[in-house]
């Protein structure tokens, strides 16, 4: 999204390397990732606070055993999603390695693989959301589990948190596609490795968030 131009540039120079000796866009993206870290932390923390409260409420009523909203989240699908995202991180880094060695067919293969895996993750999440919705977990301050209604913010915090993660994955897929076409069209551009590295950084970060969500939300 950031502008690629740089007032210091003169044609022929290595693009965008400045007084710190780093690429400006990469520095900006790392700082943005830092900002996003706090964004997702706030979302996850909200979820943890309300889940602890729901658990305490249920435990007080002796309902925790059979009404815990965690029972919605079977870990089979999530494990598959986590594996998909992890695999896409691997294909992403392989794509980057291929750009550095200028092996364009390899690069195209691995980047396409990343796009496919990313899309699979999004579709998996769409499936998960519709599934949960039909099971009774909705974007509402209560959920219905096996016919019984429980007042809890679990659904709200869960959908907002994972929804924003899914949105980030979706934007990442769009960005990957854009980079794919740009590199295909301008195969000799010296900017290509950095373009791929940037989208890669973003992509790994999105994977990193899922590592946290997988542990803090699904497993614990």
């Amino acid at each position: 999204m950031s502008a690629t131009s740089h007032a210091h540039d003169e044609a022929g120079q290595a693009p965008l390397v400045g007084s710190l000796g780093v690429d400006s866009r990469k520095l900006g993206l790392w700082a943005f990732i830092g900002s996003e870290t706090l964004f997702f932390t706030a979302l996850i923390t909200t979820h943890l606070i309300f889940y602890a409260r729901t658990k305490a409420d249920l435990a007080a009523k002796g309902m925790l055993e059979h009404m815990d909203p965690k029972l919605y989240l079977g870990i089979d699908l999530t494990t598959i999603l986590a594996a998909i995202l992890l695999a896409s991180s691997l294909t992403m880094v392989l794509a980057l390695a291929a750009t550095k060695s200028k092996e364009w067919p390899k690069f195209r293969f691995w980047l396409l693989a990343t796009i496919v895996l990313g899309s699979a993750f999004v579709l998996g999440q769409v499936y998960e959301f519709t599934h949960l919705y039909h099971e009774g977990l909705k974007l509402a301050p209560q959920y219905v589990y096996e016919g019984e209604t429980v007042k809890s913010l679990f659904g709200v915090t869960f959908f907002v948190m994972t929804g924003f993660h899914g949105l980030h994955v979706t934007l990442g897929v769009v960005w990957l596609i854009a980079v794919y076409f740009k590199v295909r069209r301008f195969a000799a551009s010296p900017e290509n490795p950095m373009d791929v590295e940037l989208v890669g950084l973003y992509w790994h970060f999105v994977d990193l968030v899922w590592v946290a969500i997988f542990t803090l939300v699904y497993l614990i």
Partner: protein, 110 residues
């Protein structure tokens, strides 16, 4: 400019790993995930504290693997490490601070 140039080279040249290396890291991360799921399945037999401890260690290892090797933060310019680690610490502060404040207590203003 000269002073900067030396700086530049150091900063830009993170080790390029072989594709085999990435496959290895990917495999390790996959194994960690598998172990996580495995201990999740047996969590009732190993006790809650142990489960949490193992899970946290594994997740941190997994996250560190992604950040250090896939995002190449290990060996990359110091500024990137700074720009990532500072907000990460703030995020930990935020999370632990909030969870502490929202743990059970009596509402008395000081």
């Amino acid at each position: 400019m000269a002073e900067h140039a030396t700086h530049d080279q150091h900063a830009e040249s993170h080790e390029s790993h072989s594709t085999r290396f990435y496959w290895m890291i990917g495999a390790i991360l996959a194994v960690i995930t598998a172990v996580e799921v495995a201990i999740f399945l047996v969590k009732d037999t190993i006790g809650h504290e142990l489960f949490l401890a193992i899970l946290f260690i594994l997740s941190i290892a997994k996250g560190a693997g992604v950040v250090m090797y896939f995002m190449h933060l290990r060996g990359d310019a110091r500024i990137f490490q700074l720009v990532f680690i500072v907000p990460f610490l703030l995020a930990v502060t935020l999370c632990l601070g909030f969870l502490t404040i929202f743990s059970h207590h009596v509402g008395i203003a000081g």
